[in-house]
Amino acid sequence: MYVAVKGGEAAISNAHRLLADRRRGDRSLPAIRIEQIVAQLGLAVDRVMAEASLYDRALAALAVRQARGDMIEAIFILRAYRTTLPRFGYSRPVETGAMLVERRVSATYKDLPGGQLLGPTFDYTHRLLDPSLLTDQEVEAPLEREEAGEPVMRVSDILAGEGLVEDDGSLPEGHVPGDLTREPLEFPMARDLRLQALSRGDEGFLLALGYSTQRGYARTHPFVGEVRIGEVEVELDMPELGFAVSLGRIQVTECQMIAQFKGSAKNPPQFTRGYGLVFGQSERKAMAMSLVDRALRAEEFGEDIVAPAQDEEFVISHSDNVQATGFVEHLKLPHYVDFQAELDLVRRMRRDYEAAQDKDLPEAAE
């Protein structure tokens, strides 16, 4: 419980002025521009967009700058901003199969239509600090190669051709996609709502949960069917025109995780799947999301629920870092009255304890 107290206005105002000073830092250095953050710290910007659940690179970069690089603070700021805007509508579902692919790798097939496209990856780098980045050295233009024009076929479609994998994931006819920005969360929830929550979930939290499933806490024996990164078209139905129009493209990362089998008396054994889809270039997050999505389908597959990653209420209630930081950080707000009550209580307990000791002492002396 907190109590309204007065005072501190001058301290708060001066603290914010000090924050602005520290944020600007050494005045002999040029101030960092939003365009530079978008262009050169792009993956930080992408993470803020993904976890704020708002796709806008310029605004996400502004939030990163304002938050001095504190990611969760930046996510919080962007999340708060979105509440000031009206909702125009829901887009048509983006078609990741038609993505303009800039990276696609599969761990299940070596040779597959479209090939293994590494794109701009950290994989196979040596993770050694690069002294050339200490200075502003010329960077070579990327190499180019004529592309085969071969469609980048989805791995799930390759497996589906043989009937070896479950389908994409349907919900009952007439199911309206849940929207956690509109309705309070209720458990258990349908998979669509869970995916919305996971897509905006904290990368570190989902990474740890995904890791836990690999270490045996709800093992699912996963393979990366594929990870793909690229641009997809966002289309909005225009009721006044009677057709859908493109609003432009966004970059997304998709992960199709293929996990071990499920069969029944009616259906022969098939691979099962976990799905990850995240704004921007965010491979680790998409992979973690797909592991957790699969783990959370335990009940659907009749698996024993024995591990945290399978516990929907636990996972979804704690995956949102804005909520989490709000509740953890509120502990630093004035709790003077609560604490006074606890002080009184501990003093009384000590008096009782000392009284009991005094009573016991003479007997002990005998």
Binding site: S53, L54, Y55, D56, A58, R82, L85, P86, R87, F88, G89, Y90, S91, P93, V94, E95, T96, G97, V101, R103, D111, L117, L118, P142, L143, R145, E146, E147, R154, S156, D167, D168, G169, S170, L171, H175, P177, G178, D179, L180, T181, D192, Q196, S199, V234, L236, E240, L241, G242, F243, V245, S246, L247, G248, R249, I250, V252, Q256, R273, Y275
Partner: protein
């Protein structure tokens, strides 16, 4: 859903106007022979569209997250109404797109808009092809080491 040729043409035009940069639209507007009289009908305003994905990539839709969108509607002096909408917070761009959408519907002026659209389409196709070639250069060419048979 109407799908005659005109609607398909306008649908494609609006998609290209959304992908055009504000600079491209402004330059084309500045170059127009005889500026149309433009009256605002709605906006420009910025809001959100909830972007949807599909479970597993092709299954039931789910709400992925929101994106900023700006839109504007304008009326030209002859009463033609145009709509402009694009990702981002650039209301001025949405207004210019709405003006070109209106002009596109006027047979006498559609040609000027088509020249703009062709230029935007060519720029995007060039950028996409360049990116695809860069990606293609990172395609893995596997080879198998010759195995000794004895």
């Amino acid at each position: 859903m109407v799908s005659d040729g005109h609607f398909e043409g306008r649908q494609k035009a609006m998609g290209l106007l959304a992908k055009a940069s504000r600079a491209e639209l402004q330059a084309a507007f500045d170059a127009l022979d005889g500026k149309p009289a433009v009256e605002p009908v709605r906006g420009p305003e910025t809001g959100l569209v909830m972007v949807r994905g599909r479970i597993g990539g092709g299954g039931a839709p789910f709400n992925l997250g929101e994106a900023t969108v700006s839109r504007a509607s304008v009326r030209l002096d002859d009463g033609t109404v145009g709509h402009g909408q694009a990702l981002g917070t650039d209301g001025a761009k949405a207004r210019l797109a709405a003006i070109f959408d209106a002009l596109f519907q006027q047979p006498a002026r559609a040609g000027e808009v088509e020249a703009l659209l062709a230029a935007v389409e060519a720029r995007i196709a060039g950028e996409d092809a360049g990116k695809a070639r860069q990606t293609a250069a990172t395609r893995v060419d596997f080879f198998t080491m010759v195995r000794g048979e004895d």
